[in-house]
């Protein structure tokens, strides 16, 4: 009967999506990004899905990566909750301004290209930090002091408590505002911009950087998902295997991340950064 064949083909599809999403969850939880960088191309290029639906599934699933990985990192005290809470203000503000005021006036294709170029350019300061295990000589700036943002975490790899300071809060707030705008306009969690802000502007250790970004992107993605839900761009039958897959991947990723060196985590992030940059260029140029 036709029905049986159709169900069989659907099951295969489910399993393919689930398996690919595990990879997205692992990369996302280690690098502090949502994992859309894997999910969107798998759904569009390999499974032939419309990109708008792929982005819709990805943005909802970013919440799953963020919550799954975030639960572990915050329990293990790697996440800096104060940094996350404070910077979320700027992301949320950027998302509202981006979606409500800028969206009608901007071409998302040019924005994708601009964003792609910016990300690829920001590889340079990340490359410069290669080889650095822990940031040195960081002094709390005035705002970090006022907001009590400095902290410490137990590094499983180094086997000791690592205390760190936080700087560059005004610049980081600007990054987060941009992250919000970009997520509102391009439908991405923009975890990549958050990690850049933590790494380059605030100079916190990479583990704190990716863990805190992971914690934050769920809120950004939840805010951005409203648009996709309202515009009927979310397919529950696709979200279900993607979200389940990324959660499995995210739990595995947290186990890896906590035992990796900060330097290796930064290298994984750099690879994801390059990949997202190229993807944004392709998406922008392809749509022109």
């Amino acid at each position: 009967m036709y029905g049986h064949f159709a169900q069989f083909s659907a099951l295969t599809f489910l399993l393919e999506v689930f398996a690919a999403s595990i990879a997205g969850g692992v990369l996302g939880s280690i690098a502090g990004i949502g994992g859309g960088v894997i999910i969107v191309p798998v759904l569009t290029v390999f499974l032939g899905m419309d990109i708008r639906y792929a982005i819709g599934a990805s943005i909802v699933s970013v919440i799953a990566t963020s919550s799954g990985a975030g639960a572990v990192y915050v329990r293990d005290r790697i996440t800096n909750v104060r940094i996350a809470m404070f910077l979320e203000v700027f992301t949320a503000l950027g998302a509202i301004i981006g979606a409500a005021l800028l969206a009608p006036h901007l071409s998302t294709h040019w924005l994708s290209i601009l964003f792609g170029v910016t990300l690829l350019t920001s590889l340079v300061p990340i490359f410069r930090k290669f080889g650095e295990e822990l940031p040195e000589g960081v002094v709390d700036d005035a705002m970090a002091k006022r907001l009590r943002l400095d902290g410490s975490y137990y590094d499983k790899r180094l086997g000791r408590e690592v205390a760190y300071h936080v700087t560059g809060i005004p610049a980081a707030s600007g990054y987060m505002f941009v992250a919000g705008i970009v997520s509102g306009l391009l439908g991405i969690g923009a975890g990549v911009v958050k990690v850049l802000a933590h790494e380059i502007a605030m100079r916190v250790p990479s583990k704190v950087s990716t863990a805190t970004s992971n914690f934050m992107i769920g809120v950004t993605a939840a805010a951005a998902s409203g648009v996709y839900l309202n515009r009927h761009l979310v397919l529950p039958f696709v979200v279900a295997p993607v979200a389940t897959g990324v959660v499995v991947g995210a739990f595995a990723g947290t186990k890896l991340m906590e035992r990796m060196s900060n330097n290796h985590i930064r290298q994984v992030f750099a690879a994801a950064l390059a990949l997202i940059g190229v993807q944004m260029l392709v998406r922008g140029i392809g749509g022109l």
């Binding site: 963020s66 919550s67 639960a71 203000v89 939840a222 397919l235």
Partner: protein, 130 residues
């Protein structure tokens, strides 16, 4: 307990409830939504409704009445929609509980205000932007 700025050292040693509560909220949300996703897929499969055509065309439409009827009738799709709602609300509930803890547990006005702002703006963009 006075929120004197000088009391930063000993306060940090104190196990902050916000981290643990956030972790529970996130874990609960993830486990619940994944359970709903698995249940929804299993129900659809059992009803013989799981086809690629349906998977790639049936979109999320928020309609409380239809959702309630679908859940009551054990329609897989309705349970998947419920899973998505739970997932989307998870980070928002996380911010809400943090706000309450900053206000009640830590008596930290600055961070209570910060989390309140985040909560309001997140809800605004979730509900208002179309």
């Amino acid at each position: 307990m006075n929120a004197a700025p000088g009391a930063v050292g000993p306060q940090r040693r104190h196990p902050l409830a916000i981290e643990d509560v956030s972790s529970w909220v996130l874990r609960l949300g993830v486990v619940a939504s994944v359970a709903l996703f698995v249940l929804g897929l299993a129900l659809s499969f059992a009803h013989g409704e799981l086809t690629r055509q349906l998977m790639e065309t049936q979109t999320f439409v928020l309609d409380a009445g239809a959702l309630r009827r679908g859940l009551a009738a054990w329609q897989g799709f309705a349970w998947l929609e419920l899973g998505i709602l739970v997932l989307v609300l998870t980070p928002i509930l996380r911010v809400f509980t943090a706000m309450v803890l900053f206000a009640v547990e830590e008596r930290d006005r600055l961070y209570t205000a910060v989390t309140f702002l985040v909560l309001v703006m997140t809800l605004a963009s979730l509900l208002l932007i179309r």
